[in-house]
Amino acid sequence: MQRDVIAPLVIAALVALAPFAGQTDYFIHILVQILLWGFIYTAWSLMGRFGLVSLGHGAFMGIGAYVTVLLWNFFELTPWIGMPIAVAAAVALAAIVGWPCVRLRIVGHYFALVTLALTAVVALSIVGLRDITGGSLGLTPNREAAGTSIYAFQFASKTVFLYVALVLWLIGLFVWRAVDRGMGRYALQAISSDEDASASVGINVGVEKIRIILLSAGLTALGGAVFGQYQMYINPETVSGIGVSLQIVFAVVAGGMFVQLGPTVGAAFTLILAETLRILIGNEYHAADTTIYGLMLVLFIIFMPKGILGAVFAGLERAKAKAA
Amino acid sequence: MLKLEGVSAGYGDFQALFGASLDVQAGEAVAVIGPNGAGKTTLLRVISGIIPLREGHLSMEGRPLDRVPAHRIIETGIAHVPENRRLFPRLTVEENLKIGAYLPAARSRFAERLDFVYSLFPRMKERRNQLAGTMSGGEQQMCAIGRALMSGPKLLLMDEPSAGLAPVIVQQVFDLVRRIRSEGYTVLIVEQNIQQVLKVVDRAYLLEVGRIKLSGKSADLLASDEIRRAYIGL
């Protein structure tokens, strides 16, 4: 077995043991958050690492979360069906916006900004449709029974969610691995370097690109849906919106988007950093924590452009080369 | 006028020049020839300071250039016509020429120099308001040379002015080089088109894998069997 199988499994096993190690709910809560965000970040990086820098993932995540909850609240449709529908909706949106982008060669800054506008449209629409979405007040899934119901995908216990998140996270990593091992990865790298040249050697640029975009959007929507079920509350700001889109990209860059565990490391790093800074100083000196956070992001990008894990691997490689 | 002594340079881990020495006298035309990847472009880039000197010395009219930053080299009278012309495609011809006169010393004589370049290349005057990127290869080469002349240089460095051009245009370009010479400029030219360039210059150096292999009068080189076999393909 290879490194990209073993490492995730080992981590997964350790995480799975956490509840038995007598950890507090808060600790579990942070773990769940890391895993869920890690999954979403991984989904983003599937396309992000091929130069498809999307700032539209806030939209996909928002649709995943909102469609699931709305179907449940208005039609009592179980999330087990609602989530696939939500994912389908996000994929459809990704196709509607993605296909013209692909056809018309909207790349680079322009792609980032078009998708940013998409996020803005979705977030503003959620606010605008306040009669059904609750506007910026947000939305709470109707609670079923005492808070735990498999049918409603609601679990009062965080431990259950920990395992749900863990499975999701592993799925994300294995999708990554599958993409990484196929020829598709070379095709996408070729495309990111030169679309015309790629087409001239027979790569169907449109299909390859749209495929990865849809995959990434769909997984992101799934992550958003589960996130909504876990938080039992969604609002345009936390699951959609420009802030979320930027947060995704930042975390991924911090962790390293070109290595399998990079996005997860990014999730862990940014979450833990934000929590620690806030707890240590933020509650004393207001805004000092976010100031430091912003500063660290800047320093990171300047001095570790490949992200934490990317830098670590590069360092190891160099050490190996020296030893040899 | 220009003197290089034991110059080494390279890119990152890669070394492209190994102790090359060469000199150009005022009023001379000198060519540097050699196969692909020999380091000819690198040599010109070292002279105009775009890439740093690793070893050796470089001087212009006795003034050492070893530590002079790239953008100040032009003040010493060296102008560089880069490989592939490198015009600013979305500026007009005249604006390209204007940039050539960016130096404070040149700005004050802008109008005068512009007239000179236009008299040298009337075609440029015709096309003064055309975007540089839309002109033909030969016209672009004229513009690039004109741009270099705008700074009022003493020495002109030219990197493969004929590359990628149609045969008629290639001839035009070599005619240009002759004209520049006859205007009294000192020229250091890098060319792949050995047969033709040797007819224009006084002397030439042969560069191979970053080292000067041979040098001599162009007529002698043209007659040399070794050169003919290896580089002219006859």
Partner: protein, 248 residues
Amino acid sequence: MLEVRDLTKRFGGFTAVSGVSFDLAEGEILGLIGPNGSGKSTTFNCLSGLYLPTSGNVRFQGRDIAGWSSSRVCHAGIARTFQIPRPFKNLTILENVAVSAYYGRARSVSRREAFVHAEEALAMVRLPVDPTLGIGGLGAAGLKKLELARALATGPKLLLADESLGGLDESEMDQAADMLQAIRRDKGITIIWVEHIMGVLMRVVDRVMVLDHGEVIASGTPAEVAAHPKVIEVYLGSDPTARQHAQA
């Protein structure tokens, strides 16, 4: 195998290719020459599907391929190189070629077969097959070879080679000319070759076609074309080598 009729390409008001027609027989090497900006690369771009022709027909082995996408044209058996090399910067040399072999062939191949084809193509253009080599180490000549290898790996029947030699030195040019001849000889690939270096071109091609302002102004054997007054006026000038070679 290729019939082009009245091929026209306009950019806004500017006509880059205007009513170009020609036929190409299997196994032929056709030289395409003309002044800068005369529409040679644009013709290639129309044939290879990069540009949508404004009008005209292109029949390749009986099928009308005008308006097909690049990748489809490639699968049909037409490969091309780019005048200015456009390598995939983030892939190794081998991967550059393997990705073409995997995606470019008419019949789908396995991952392993793709790498085998790739190594073959690299050997043919005399580039190293070391899988760890990046493209950073390739000079101008190396990049041109990579272009050629990438095109060959797609298993084409027709190769469109755009100015493979510009900026190369004599010996490299000779090598490249030999390579093109070998490609035709060993693989039976038909070739259209765009080149400004008359010396080499005239020696290799069977037939030459000359474009000026997007129109065909002459066509025939190298000797005929080299003697054509219009061609001399707009293109060859007094280039001695061209005529020497054409006559040889």
